[in-house]
Symmetry: C2
Amino acid sequence: MLIIKTIAEIKNHLVPKKNAAQKIALVPTMGALHDGHLALVKKARELAEIVVVSIFVNKSQFNDLNDYEKYPRQIDSDLEKLKTCGVDYVFLPSDEEIFSQDFSVKITPTNLVNCLCGAFRAGHFDGVALIITKLFNIIKPDVALFGQKDFQQVAVIKKLVTDLNFDVEIFAHETVREKTGLAMSSRNQRLDEMSFAKAAIIYQILFEIRNEIKISPESVVKILSEKKEKLLKNGFEKIDYLEIRDERNLKLITNFIPSQPARILIALYLSKVRLIDNLQI
Amino acid sequence: MLIIKTIAEIKNHLVPKKNAAQKIALVPTMGALHDGHLALVKKARELAEIVVVSIFVNKSQFNDLNDYEKYPRQIDSDLEKLKTCGVDYVFLPSDEEIFSQDFSVKITPTNLVNCLCGAFRAGHFDGVALIITKLFNIIKPDVALFGQKDFQQVAVIKKLVTDLNFDVEIFAHETVREKTGLAMSSRNQRLDEMSFAKAAIIYQILFEIRNEIKISPESVVKILSEKKEKLLKNGFEKIDYLEIRDERNLKLITNFIPSQPARILIALYLSKVRLIDNLQI
């Protein structure tokens, strides 16, 4: 496993692989790796001959500077974890390597971004689109892997790939979960033991909603409202959203039609940590 | 010379060339080809094994819908001209092929664009950055060629290539001129005979400015002011700008220092046609 810190060097390594028609998979991460990331790496290993994991905490996608500063950074243990997973290259650039001092371009997805996390995190998906465009141009992967936990992110990136004509297949991996059912996230580290246990209710509630909506498809609004109340009673501080949306276009669903591919999506705060999750109906 | 109208087809043709390590040159055009374009093609032929010319009137870079509608379109004669120049592929997509109905991403260069044409043509360079990003992803050229007449455009594209990490060399070809000295442009077709003759003064004035500034480097403001007056007296309707700027960063120069790489840039209207030109000092 080679650890590479500059764009020039990773390009030098990958050009001969590309020329030899070896398939390259990219797993873009912000580090603080958990089993969700490692599942992506394992899948990448199946899909391609060369596996590149990038670790870069991309400031441009943080709307909240405090969240950026508190984002866990633990490169040494990240590298330890990756060593056992058959990774070929870890791309570990500095901030300056990715964003030069006179960096001056913005990429703005204009669809799919005005709801869910996009509505609560101003500029977040601009930052995501920017780093993904840069990483795709640097690594030139055949396939890139993302976790389904970030459902809206995957949708936005798929649209970006189509709109900007990237030759990259986007693989969305099912969400990997703690034993309690809590979706794995680097931010889970910031939960104390009690909050960590309490957070398990999120996934339970997604299941409850799914079951109840299948029984009463016309009661979407009422069901969601009751579940929000339950979450707040259980000590969650703030719910950014708890909604059902069409998986194809993220349009809001207030009357569930079984033939429609729908998903329940949630974002909420516990102990000042923002958690997200989603479940297909 | 193959004429190809779809993204899928041009990609299919170029992938094996790429895999065989053949160098690809791209000449992006909006058609209405003149000897300036053909000089780019000739240079492309020297620089690469495969020459692709794209013809696409990119609506997204027109700030003025009237200008877009009046932009000359003459595909048949364009293709005739290209046939004699050793072009391998003409990429001739429809509007819908490039911009699907639900197309939804914006690219905004934020540096170098707030002056010169960028100040007068709102959104122009967003449109340029977008089509160039898409063409680079579709064609994957090793080198792309542009005319130096569009000096600011070349600067913006070079910055885009750096900022988004494209592996494309940008070749800026010197401006090709009519016998009268007028910079070749597809828009020149819209000048009647008299205006065409009159437009020759633009290049003469750029030369006058260069000579006078070399003699009186402290008199930049005065010299430019006199030349603007002279142009208006000669029947030009409106001058968007006549300025001297640093070639490296497009910063305005009001006191010329001989060691500084400087360029005189002009945009003005004659018979309602917008003409631009520039000259290195």
